[in-house]
Every structure is written in structure tokens, then in C-alpha cells.
Amino acid sequence: MKIQTTRFGQIILNDKQVIDMPHGMLGFSEHRRYVIIQNKKDSPFFWYQSLDDPDLAFVITRPYLFKPDYNPQIKEGLAHMAWHMDDTQFFKSLEIYVVVNIPRGAPGDMTGNFMGPLVVNPLCQQAVQVVLSEGGYSHKTRLFVQDKEKIQKIEKEVAV
């Protein structure tokens, strides 16, 4: 299938790549179909592009790359999905992403929404954004915890 996007022009994708979100992303419940596009080779960032709105795309990343001890209790948040959550193998098969926010001109201050992880079930190509009320995870978790000086130095280098 061919789809039109604002950021990447026309893209061609396989039907199997389409991810269905029965409840949408929070605040975007009318948009149900998405596709994950890698930003570029070896990049930890992906675009989560809506197929229903060419202009709607989120930047997502793998939380464990930045917080290896991230342990969201998602089970309760999946209760309204018609998924067969029968064994631990099932939970291992799930892919977890977080939505990223990048402040203008300050990539070093980018944050991940660790309070609202995006959970993808590759078995049925469905996804849901889970809201965690326990666990103490912030919706603005800093991805880079290096010291300020170093962050600012690299920000200057990449801005040129």
C-alpha cells in the first residue's frame, strides 16, 4: 500500500507492517493505524507515523537503551485489549517504546514519556499506550544524564 506523509513524502509499505491501535494514542483516539519507520540505519529513534493523518508522527525510542532498569507494570493497562496474556512468554514478545520530546535547539534536554509507554504486540500487530499510575515514572524522563557541560558542548558541535 502507498501512503502519503508530510515528513517523508510517499512511502510504500506492506500491509503486515500496519499497527492497529483500537484506542489510539492519548489525545488522538480517532487515529488508529500506524507504522514504525526507522529514522536512519543504526539510529535508536523511530517515527511512529499515522496512516490516517499524513501530518501526525511521533518520535519513539526503546526505553531500555537509556534506562536499562525500566520495569513498567503494564499488565493492568493491557486488560482492555483482547490479547491472550496467558504466559510469561507473551510478555517477553511485547515491544515497548516511549514517545520522545526534543526541545527546540536543545537535543541534550530531550525527554521520554516513561509514564505512558507504547506497547506493541507483534503477534497481532496491535498496540496500546499504557498509562502507568504506579512505579514513579515521569512523563518527562531525561534521556541523557551526562553532566551539563558535556551536553552543551556536544549541542554546540551538532548545531553547526
Partner: protein, 83 residues
């Protein structure tokens, strides 16, 4: 807004399949039980709102902002390895 007064242990029905039970009232805190169909999502409002607002802000991300961020990631992770 409809305002009702309920005692501890009393319930409120919303439509045919949602029942809210006020389990315990202690000082300024209320413990509430909610029975609803599986496909109804229930969240603490302030947490829901934070995640929603964060989505709103993230949806406006430009391709340029991500290229810059990607480059930043490459740089900061490579300097880490050198040490």
C-alpha cells in the same frame, strides 16, 4: 455537572454496565471501586492528562529536530566509549 451525595458502601450506576462503589471515605481520601466493560479505559485524571499533553507536544516534532537529536546521540555515545 451532576452532583450526588453518597455514603461509604453506596454505589452509582452509569449506563447499563458501569458501577462505581464508594468503598471507604477517610478524611480527604476516597477509595473508589469501578466495574466497567473491558474495553472501557479508566485512568487517574491527572496522570492521563500528563501523558496526553506530552503526546500533544511530541506530535509537532519536525524531521530537522530528530536529525539533530540523532546526531547528538551519536556524538554523546561515541565520547562515552572513548573513555
Amino acid at each position: 455537572m451532576l452532583i450526588l451525595t453518597r455514603k461509604s458502601g453506596e454505589q452509582i450506576a452509569i449506563g447499563d454496565d458501569i458501577v462505581i462503589t464508594f468503598l471507604e471515605i477517610k478524611g480527604t481520601q476516597v477509595k473508589v471501586g469501578i466495574e466497567a466493560p473491558r474495553d472501557v479505559t479508566i485512568h487517574r485524571q491527572e496522570v492521563y492528562e500528563r501523558v496526553r499533553e506530552e503526546n500533544m507536544a511530541a506530535a509537532a516534532m519536525t524531521a530537522e529536530a530528530l536529525s539533530l537529536a540523532s546526531e547528538f546521540y551519536t556524538q554523546i555515545t561515541s565520547t562515552k566509549e572513548k573513555k
